[in-house]
Point group: C2
């Protein structure tokens, strides 16, 4: 049996339009016009973010097309979650190598569709173009009550540092032969949308963990003009992480610097602790206090006996060679400005 | 003198953040947080579109980096114009090959910045990632009074077909040694934002010319459930086009099917003709009536003596080989659905 001819432009568009949720509350005009038309609720601000995943840079042959589709949406939803926004809609720009196999397209559409449906996110527009490598660039739009977006800049000395879920699993999931639980955290991250919404009125600042816990905490600290003191022994680690980390020379490294956890790091006043814990519980999201914000700009991580723990250096997404999947985060335009 | 080392992630982000307008009315939070925060005016709908330009597909060595930056924004502004939307903000996702030359980055930023400033469009966020080919994916956000977006679907039989500016210049501008006026239309298209706003309350439907006049008119016809009758002799052609077309076997072809004009095709009731002409004049945008919408789904183009004019076939952006710059339009997700 000969292979079917690769699908053309119109078949590809039809395939994605069928596979993705394209309408819903707030969608006035979905795909098919010059642009989509959306209607946030009265009194809402709009939240907008864009992120790309590129073959050979952010994923390799071990990720299925469905994984790639899922992750491309999930990493953007994670940014909305960090702003405390409810997801409104997404636009998906696909770069496709010549004659993409139908199975690849179907897988991409399935993964995008699964993540979109899981989070009630209509895909209201997009673009398909040829490209030397497969890429998926997603713009996610969300909404927050006017003036209520959770920024990176609100933390104050004395506030607690807390993090959702567990850290470091995604980084360990990159290793060949990684346990399924860790590999899944790498390939199918769970954006903390519910937790972001539940915590929005209670926390003073938030950031999502894409580059690595300490690096992203550093973004928050710089934006807020504070430092932080973190207790390594309090870092939330999964059972699979603890087992895998026994073999590592530096067992804290993946949790501190690994990246791609897509957990939320939040800052809040100690008096809010119980309210924050209750909100996280209502969102069915584990939340662990791991430290405290302090004056000054430094982040210090202390081990179980109070000794300083070294943190592997941050990562330059463009200079690094290879195809470390944790490069996916790219670099947000402007996010590198050092506020201090 | 040795060349300076290529800039790293943070230098690149800083370079773009400095070169681009990043704030303004409606921007609550610009670049530097997990996402941007925007505030459309009360009672406005949000309009959203995404489009990508990729090296080797949508531009080649004849385009300067500044041209590429300009065009990446302009093609998205053209979509906003076709919806009658005022530009609100853009997000820019850059795919950069390893170690991009500083001159390339500066040129890109200059072109993006020039187009953004020309149209009062803040760039509120973005992403930088490695990629095998240079690519610029832009999401443009606009606003329209609630329920007032100009769609493709409003044309009725009897409505007039009109088009802004001139057609075919961009296609002719692709030829090696093309006159400067034509090459400029190809490399630095002018999105018809002012005209789109001025015409918004007067026209029943609009589409922008990215794929080619007849093909885009066809999108509008299918969405509206009408056909069209176009008089080739009435097509607005520039003096440079008329000179260049003397040497062509089919002098209408670039105007009918060339693509990348980024003019607007609009539909309106004949009774509105004077109001439409006055609005276009106020927007300092030439507007020419070229035909009429009719019942049925066919588009017929008639020559000066009433003879049918053949229209070159439409274009499959993915199957076509080579690097025709007019492939840039890609294919909008869902826009290929045939409504009839």
């Amino acid at each position: 049996m000969g292979a079917a001819p690769p699908p053309g432009e119109f078949e590809i568009i039809a395939l994605f339009t069928r596979a993705l949720p394209i309408g819903g509350r707030g969608v006035v005009v979905g795909p098919g016009d010059d642009a989509a038309v959306l209607r946030p609720a009265p009194g809402e601000d709009l939240v907008a973010t864009v992120d790309a995943v590129v073959e050979g840079v952010h994923f390799d042959a071990r990720s299925t097309p469905a994984d790639v589709g899922w992750k491309a949406l999930a990493v953007n939803l994670s940014d909305l979650a960090a702003m405390g926004a409810r997801p409104l809609a997404a636009l998906v720009a696909l770069g496709l190598p010549p004659d993409p196999p139908l199975a690849t397209l179907r897988g991409l559409a399935r993964g995008l569709g699964a993540c979109a449906r899981e989070h009630g996110l209509p895909v209201v527009g997009g673009n398909v173009t040829r490209s030397p490598a497969l890429s998926v660039t997603v713009t996610a739009l969300g909404a927050v009550p006017e003036g209520r977006a959770v920024l990176r800049s609100g933390a104050r000395p004395g506030d607690l540092v807390a993090v959702t879920g567990t850290l470091g699993d995604a980084a360990l999931g990159l290793a060949p032969g990684a346990p399924a639980a860790l590999a899944r955290r790498q390939r199918r991250p769970t954006p903390r949308v519910r937790a972001g919404l539940a915590l929005a009125g209670l926390v003073r600042a938030a950031v999502d963990v894409s580059d690595g816990f300490v690096q992203d905490l550093g973004h928050l600290c710089r934006a807020s003009g504070v430092g932080a003191l973190v207790a390594a022994a309090d870092l939330p680690l999964s059972p699979a992480y603890r087992r895998a980390a026994r073999r590592l020379p530096d067992p804290w490294a993946p949790a501190l610097a690994g990246g791609e956890d897509y957990e939320l790091v939040v800052a809040f006043a100690p008096a809010r602790l119980h309210a924050v814990q209750a909100a996280a519980a209502r969102a069915r999201t584990p939340l662990t206090v791991v430290g405290r914000f302090v004056r000054g700009g430094a982040i210090r991580v202390l081990g179980p006996d109070g000794e300083p723990v070294a943190v592997p250096p941050g990562h330059d997404h463009l200079r690094a060679g290879g195809s470390r999947a944790s490069d996916r985060a790219g670099a947000r335009l402007g996010s590198g400005r050092r506020a201090r």
